[in-house]
């Protein structure tokens, strides 16, 4: 009877987009991620959950080498994107981040026009040959970010003048303008009201048709709503990783159950 729940709209590609093996992360002497193995599925939403300081954001930032920007941070182990080692010497982190886009906790549009916010990435990566192509990329990205109708008449207005929820969708539009394969989202809704949150969640569900989405969230209900796979981190360990339906109805590790039912923080 309960098993039937798991069949509904849970079709996944089952292809592996990102494969991490034996990943350790240190901040100076602090061992933040401990020997994590995980395989993230293509065109699915994977949620990372866990209490503050469990390492979920740290691990997320390994996937597009954002941790390179922190001097004391040391990453070891293997992370492959479509079979390529993203920590190989010949990989340019800037090019990598065009393939693995990121959306942050606080909406952070550039202090530029709405148009320029989205056009910036494609311009520096040379994705458009002329203005017409760039216009097309901007419109497509904003449409995909489900904000086009709200901003199409004021593309020259500053991005910072939008509401918080609109700013976040603008940032998602900006992230997908470089045609990434993976979207990393670090608490994308924590600064948004419930309506804006619902809009972003709806957007995430649409985005998984085209992208592999990895989302870090403190809201367990959000993880349950938007993801197909959930990974629970605790004290730097990946405690349990599996289908979201299973994690939230019948987790196998008692630490997972204690966390999702609100017994440990």
């Amino acid at each position: 009877m309960m098993n039937d729940m798991r069949i509904t709209e849970r079709t996944m590609s089952n292809e592996i987009k990102i494969a991490a093996k034996g990943v350790d992360v240190f901040y100076g002497d602090t061992h933040a991620i401990k020997d994590v193995d995980v395989e993230i599925e293509n065109k699915a939403v994977t949620a990372f959950i866990g209490p503050s300081g469990c390492g979920k954001s740290t691990f997320l930032r390994c996937i597009n080498r954002m941790n390179d920007t922190i001097d004391v941070c040391r990453v070891s182990g293997d992370i492959h994107l479509e079979g390529e080692d993203i920590y190989a010497k010949d990989v340019d982190p800037v090019q990598l981040r065009a393939r693995v886009g990121m959306v942050f906790q606080k909406p952070n549009p550039f202090p530029k026009s709405i148009y320029d916010n989205v056009a910036y990435g494609p311009k520096i990566h040379g994705l458009a040959r002329n203005k017409a192509e760039l216009d097309e990329i901007v419109e497509k990205s904003l449409r995909r970010a489900a904000i086009w109708d709200e901003v199409k008449d004021r593309l020259d207005a500053p991005g910072t003048g939008l509401s918080g929820g609109q700013q976040q969708r603008l940032c998602i539009g900006r992230a997908i303008a470089t045609a990434p394969e993976v979207l990393l989202m670090d608490e994308p809704c924590s600064a948004l009201d419930p309506i804006a949150t619902a809009q972003v969640e709806e957007l995430i569900d649409e985005l998984r048709a085209s992208y592999t989405v990895v989302i870090v969230t403190h809201s367990m209900q959000q993880a349950a709503r938007v993801s197909q796979k959930t990974a629970f981190f605790h004290l730097g360990n990946l405690v349990e990783y599996g289908n979201t339906d299973m994690i939230f109805t019948n987790p196998s590790d008692s630490r997972t159950e204690s966390y999702i039912t609100g017994r440990i923080g």
Binding site: N250, I260, R263
Partner: protein, 238 residues
């Protein structure tokens, strides 16, 4: 796993709805034993009390449903907590049905006490109702103790109830064939036996909820079933 929620009010909510279930279970156990005793002693006053008390069981079920709805809305329970509220909801429905059957037994007692006794049936029905009541007590104990072995045992014991019902079915047929004046009483007694058999099914369902609560999975449908009365009168079922 940690026993207690960070939000202690959540623990109180869950304890509260489980306490309602136990209260309901206690009332239903009393209803079964009182209804059975009323039948045995031809005590129409006691039968009347059983009928009246069923309203309180129904009211408790409504209270459980309202509380479960509130807990789901406010706490959004997951995993074991989710299974707790789901099983509470189902068990309360099972108990309500068992209560109804006990009430029906009491109603028939008022009619039967005006009729001549049917030889030998009293003891069999008494034994059957005792077994059902013991199953119910064990199912509720299994629930509170989260004891899946006891729950599995309760499930298996339903076959004994089915067998008692089979035997009574044949006994009543014999009485009716012997003397048509027995038909009315035997029909009432047969419904009583049937109701007790159905109580056993609901108690079995409670035991299955215990297994689901603890393991997250419903038990396989492999237990023995002994109710063969559907085939009586066919060449195979004779």
């Amino acid at each position: 796993m940690q026993d207690q929620h960070i939000a202690s009010a959540f623990d109180r909510d869950l304890e509260g709805i489980q306490a309602l279930i136990m209260k309901m279970g206690g009332m239903v156990e009393t209803a079964i034993s009182d209804a059975s005793r009323a039948l045995d002693m031809r005590d129409t006053e006691l039968a009347e009390i059983v009928r009246k008390n069923d309203k309180a069981v129904d009211a408790l079920e409504e209270e459980v449903v309202a509380e479960v709805a509130r807990v789901i809305a406010v706490r959004a329970p997951t995993a074991g907590d989710l299974r707790t509220v789901l099983t509470v909801l189902k068990i309360s429905a099972n108990l309500e049905r068992v209560g109804d059957y006990a009430k029906n037994l009491a109603k028939r007692t008022s009619v039967l006490s005006e009729m001549p006794m049917i030889n030998g049936s009293g003891g069999s029905i008494r034994r059957m109702s005792k077994s059902v009541n013991l199953m119910l007590k064990d199912a509720l104990d299994a629930y509170i103790q989260r004891d899946i072995d006891l729950a599995a045992d309760v499930r298996q014991r339903d076959a004994e109830i089915d067998q008692m019902y089979n035997a009574l079915f044949r006994e009543f047929l014999t009485h009716m064939m012997e003397d048509p004046r027995n038909i009315t009483a035997c029909m009432h007694l047969h419904f009583i036996a049937k109701n007790l058999e159905r109580m056993g099914d609901h108690v079995t369902s409670i035991a299955e909820q215990v297994i689901y609560l603890v393991t997250g999975e419903m038990p396989d449908e492999d237990r023995e079933k002994k109710d063969r009365t559907a085939y009586v009168g066919t060449p195979d079922g004779a």
